[in-house]
């Protein structure tokens, strides 16, 4: 078909025109793209560069190694143990179910655990490590390691976990660590980011809790590059953290072990304190529990067993338990009266077995009465009426002040949980607490450590130590921090006349050693180790019935405070046996055994006991469950 040339010319011209227009539009758009590129890449480059960095760089914390805790002889009581675990990276595992099935041939996992693991892994990012099994044996771990070619994505790992090698012995002193709870976080202002790590553990009770921050140390960190799915590509740099502070406590694990064993299944507390420097050598509280249970995460059943036990194994009776001190308080009353100048040591009072005050009759424990007694006799035989007389003369304010001077009604500064303040009552205290007038009967009750007076075994041992040393010695639990010795506090002499103190000490000597002393059965006959002490039996209820006839929880508390050697005091001991009965029968023998153990640095020879008690001591010793490793040590030293 032929066309007119004109048409052709026109067609070509039109195409040229339109083609140029189109080309122009295209060129224009290309320029627009270039402009946009320039705007983003040049003008906004810094902003986008920052966003890109934020995308790829993440910080991750390196948990520091927790500080170790040793006893006074450098024996470890809280350590970090290597634990073996198996982790899996689901992305590398391929067929998860298959891999898990093969792993289960090596590590026993219940169907339930396996199912839970599978579910959790499917929910989480496939690049994140998942811990399948924790606390494996070395054998299991090595078997996994040998079989890694058949277990894609699975790798054996070594981590650190707190371990308490002394098991029950230090549960109440050291406490334990556990996972950080929401409650823990809510208590801390501006918490250390470490606390947010999923596996991180902090001190929950005891020294672990009170020294938490120094023990924890400082976290290190590493900058890592991650990809879009959060997988770690490489480490950019790393800053090592600072390990926690190591602590050395004043406790002696061998003595502690003995104390716990000696207290046995009783609900009881016993403390040993060095009167010369305040060192707490043993802080026994029975029954106890294994703190390692809490580190691993205690089972509901185990926890219920602990909380429902009427002997309260979780309670730290030594520092937080409060008991009426009973007759062990009589030294306080005696010193208060002598220091007030209202009585002298030789002055006698007549004990008819009771004392009539404002129409009420206050009994002596001995209904028939003690007759004429002076200070020495009153302590020896624990006459109550003598102290009623003293209380009437001295008044409660003097008694309370003396109690505080000797460490009762004062919160001692030791790093344990819930250290009790106790009560050394005054008129003002009662007015505030009960909105009631102080009556004279209250003073009489207080004079023999009943009524409002409450003291902890810790306060009782401090009292004994202060009486023995004549100084204001303060208890000390932390011996050194990272090798630096903590200062001894309270070496200044007590603000009490030395004569009065000596007279009281003499009384305490007679309690144990004189023929009529209440604790004569528990005397020590070894040369230079003579013990002085005071029994106490504090009433839990007001009606007097024979202890054997009432249920356990209504029986009297048995108490004993002591120091030895009498001539040159070294150790003070306090023992409280909840609902144990009489102080002389129950508490004093324990105190004697503990004291001898402390003095000898191990099991004492039988010759230290009076021949009359030896058979009994043998029997007790036979049943004693001491740690074999520590016993070996003791005999070496002996």
């Amino acid at each position: 078909m032929r066309r007119a040339p004109k048409d052709t010319e026109e067609s070509v011209r039109k195409i040229t025109r339109r083609g140029l227009v189109m080309g122009g539009l295209m060129g224009g758009f290309a320029a627009l793209l270039a402009g946009r590129m320039r705007y983003m890449q040049v003008d906004q480059a810094d902003e986008f560069r920052l966003l890109a960095e934020e995308n790829r760089i993440k910080f991750s914390l390196i948990p520091p190694e927790r500080g170790l805790i040793f006893d006074r002889n450098g024996r470890p009581i809280a350590v970090n143990e290597q634990i073996y675990r198996v982790v899996i990276v689901p992305e590398d595992a391929g067929d998860l179910e298959n891999t898990l099935a093969r792993l289960r041939k090596i590590i026993p996992l219940t169907d339930e655990e396996a199912k839970k693991a599978l579910e959790e892994m499917r929910r989480a990012s496939p690049f994140l490590e998942y811990t399948i099994a924790d606390r494996l044996s070395w054998e299991q771990l090595s078997e996994v390691a040998v079989n890694t070619p058949a277990l894609p994505g699975i790798s054996p790992e070594v981590g650190l976990s707190r371990h308490y090698p002394m098991l029950e012995d230090f549960a109440h002193v050291i406490g334990y660590v556990g996972r950080v709870s929401d409650y823990d976080l809510s208590k801390i202002e501006d918490p250390d980011p470490l606390l947010r790590l999923p596996q991180f553990q902090i001190g929950k009770v005891g020294v672990e809790s009170k020294w938490e921050e120094p023990l924890r140390g400082k976290a290190g960190n590493r900058r890592i590059e991650v990809n879009a799915s959060g997988r770690v590509m490489r480490e950019l740099d790393r800053q090592q953290g600072i390990s926690g502070t190591d602590l050395q406590l004043t406790v002696d694990s061998q003595l502690q072990n003995y104390v716990q064993a000696r207290l046995g299944t009783e609900s009881a507390a016993a403390m040993v304190m060095d009167v010369t420097n305040g060192d707490l050598l043993a802080i026994g509280s029975a029954p106890s529990f294994d703190p390692n249970l809490f580190v691993r995460g205690i089972s509901v059943a185990d926890y219920r067993d602990l909380t429902e036990n009427d002997h309260r194994p979780l309670a730290n009776k030594a520092a937080q338990g409060l008991y009426p001190p009973g007759s062990t308080f009589k030294m306080v009353t005696a010193l208060a009266a002598m220091e007030a100048g209202v009585v002298t040591a030789g002055e006698t009072f007549y004990c008819p077995g009771h004392k009539e005050v404002s129409g009420r009759r206050f009994h002596c424990w001995k209904r028939s009465g003690h007759g004429w007694v002076d200070l020495d006799g009153s302590l020896q035989q624990s006459c109550d009426v003598y102290y009623y007389e003293l209380a009437l003369k001295a008044g409660i304010e003097n008694i309370s002040a003396m109690a505080k001077k000797l460490g009762i009604g004062v919160r001692h500064d030791i790093p344990m949980s819930a250290v009790a303040e106790g009560i050394a009552p005054t008129k003002a205290w009662k007015a505030e607490r009960y909105e009631q007038e102080w009556v004279v009967g209250d003073s009489l009750n207080a004079s023999i450590g009943q009524g409002f007076v409450l003291a902890s075994p810790l306060q009782l041992v401090v009292m004994a130590a202060r009486l023995a040393s004549g100084t204001q010695i303060e208890p000390r639990l932390v011996k050194s921090v990272d090798g630096r010795e903590t200062p001894v506090k309270g070496l200044e002499p007590l603000d009490i006349s030395p004569t009065a103190l000596q007279q009281v000490r003499k009384g305490m000597y007679n309690v144990v050693n004189s023929s009529r002393g209440t604790a004569r059965g528990s005397r020590i006959v070894a040369e230079g180790m003579t013990m002085a002490g005071k029994t106490g039996t504090s009433q839990v209820r007001s009606v007097v019935v024979r202890n054997q006839d009432v249920p356990w929880e209504q029986r009297d508390h048995a108490l004993f405070v002591a120091f030895a050697p009498y001539d040159n005091p070294k150790y003070a001991v306090s023992v409280v046996v909840e609902h144990g009965g009489g102080g002389s029968a129950v508490a004093a023998p324990i105190a004697r055994d503990v004291m001898l153990q402390a003095l000898y640095g191990g099991l004492p020879p039988m010759e230290a006991y009076p021949s009359s008690s030896r058979w009994e001591v043998e029997q007790i010793r036979k049943d004693l469950k001491l740690r074999e490793d520590l016993r070996q040590d003791a005999s070496d030293r002996a």
């Binding site: 066309r3 189109m22 290309a30 480059a45 966003l51």
Partner: protein, 382 residues
């Protein structure tokens, strides 16, 4: 002037045709494809597999195809236009019925050695048929309504099939590519005004239909529109791709971070980094300089095509070259706008650079047509 009217004697024959190939254009294409190889090498972490090597093989295949197409006289291709168009329609129907589903759309026919996307072929066959149509049509009738409706139908049939897959990006390219040919053929301005107006109407309808029973687009397409309008609203979901893409592009700066140093692409923050978003990797690693260099290469290809088209006095050849150039332009313009956050994420690859067999071979085939038109252009009288 029609092909029949010029002196056949002046058209080169046999091997001498090779001398008349537009070699500048070949070099430009090679350069662009090489940029693609380099980027595919880089996003694979400095490895020829899995992308760079297959891409090179396809490039070799495409290059051979380009020369074969180029050697065949352009009038043969004009005569084949209708057949090719109908063939591609058949393929589109076939893929609709039997194709493999990928990325939420039915797009591929698995040929064993490669996956063929009929929609890629349709882009070129559509341009061919339209060019042939206007070559056949009396110039005076170009703007008559009846003769305008016919090409519109020619455009809409493959568009409808592609939309059904659904592939919004390709549908857009088909419509605009076809419209460009019509525009160059000299259809009256008013028609385009009317289409743009009705297009605006359609957009309104699409927006209005959302959430109703007669919803015109799939939910994911609506979400893409939302994301486009406000990508920051959903940075981890729908807006993630575009946000990360902008970060990668922007962090490139003047000269980029260096080959394989782009953190965004290397650490997988970039989505589809070897296909639709490959330009961001280029921009991140070679910066503004690299990005603009590629843009310049593209513009040079366009320029060579347009010059060739305007010098060519054969109506079919001119329109075909302009149509192919326009389609090529749409490819890179839409893709770049997309990664720079100027257009919604519609799934258009970066021509000759993105990883993908169909697009590479079809585009090189199309440039074969451009070469054929160039080689066999009328010479001599006038």
């Amino acid at each position: 002037m029609s092909y029949l009217e010029y002196n056949r004697e002046t058209v080169p024959t046999g091997l001498s045709k090779v001398l008349y190939v537009n070699w500048a254009l070949v070099v430009l294409l090679l350069a662009v494809c090489s940029v693609g190889f380099l980027m595919l090498f880089s996003v694979a972490g400095g490895s020829l597999s899995p992308w760079a090597e297959p891409q090179m093989k396809r490039f070799a295949l495409g290059l051979v195809m380009m020369f074969i197409v180029a050697m065949v006289p352009i009038y043969f291709w004009r005569n084949m236009a209708l057949l090719a168009y109908l063939g591609s329609l058949l393929l589109l129907v076939f893929v609709e019925l039997f194709g493999d589903v990928g990325m939420g759309a039915q797009r591929w026919i698995d040929l064993g050695f490669m996956r063929l996307q009929p929609s890629e072929v349709a882009k070129i066959t559509l341009v061919m048929l339209l060019a042939a149509y206007y070559d056949w049509l009396d110039v005076g009738k170009t703007s008559r309504p009846l003769w305008v409706i016919l090409p519109v139908i020619i455009i809409l049939v493959p568009t409808a099939l592609v939309l059904k897959q659904p592939d919004l990006g390709t549908a857009l390219l088909l419509v605009v590519g076809g419209a460009m040919v019509m525009f160059c053929a000299g259809v009256h301005w008013l028609y385009f005004g009317a289409v743009i107006a009705s297009g605006a109407g359609l957009v309104t309808a699409v927006v209005a239909s959302r959430g109703t029973t007669w919803q015109l687009l799939k939910d994911y397409q609506y979400r893409r529109i939302d994301t486009f309008l406000d990508p920051e609203s959903d940075p981890l979901g729908a807006g993630y791709h575009i946000t990360q893409s902008k970060i990668a592009l922007g962090s490139g700066g003047w000269t980029g971070r260096g080959l394989m140093e782009g953190t965004q692409s290397r650490l997988n923050f970039l989505p589809e980094k070897h296909t639709d978003f490959i330009f961001t990797t280029l921009a991140e690693e070679f910066g503004f300089v690299g990005g603009v260099s590629l843009l310049v290469l593209y513009v040079l290809i366009l320029a060579f095509c347009i010059v060739s088209a305007l010098k060519n006095r054969d109506r079919f050849s001119s329109l075909l070259i302009l149509g192919i150039a326009g389609t090529f332009f749409l490819f890179f313009a839409v893709n770049m706008s997309m990664v720079m956050g100027l257009a919604p994420v519609v799934g258009v690859p970066l021509p000759l650079v993105s990883y993908g067999g169909s697009a590479m071979i079809v585009l090189l085939g199309a440039f074969g047509l451009v070469q054929s038109a160039h080689i066999h252009r009328p010479r001599g009288r006038r």
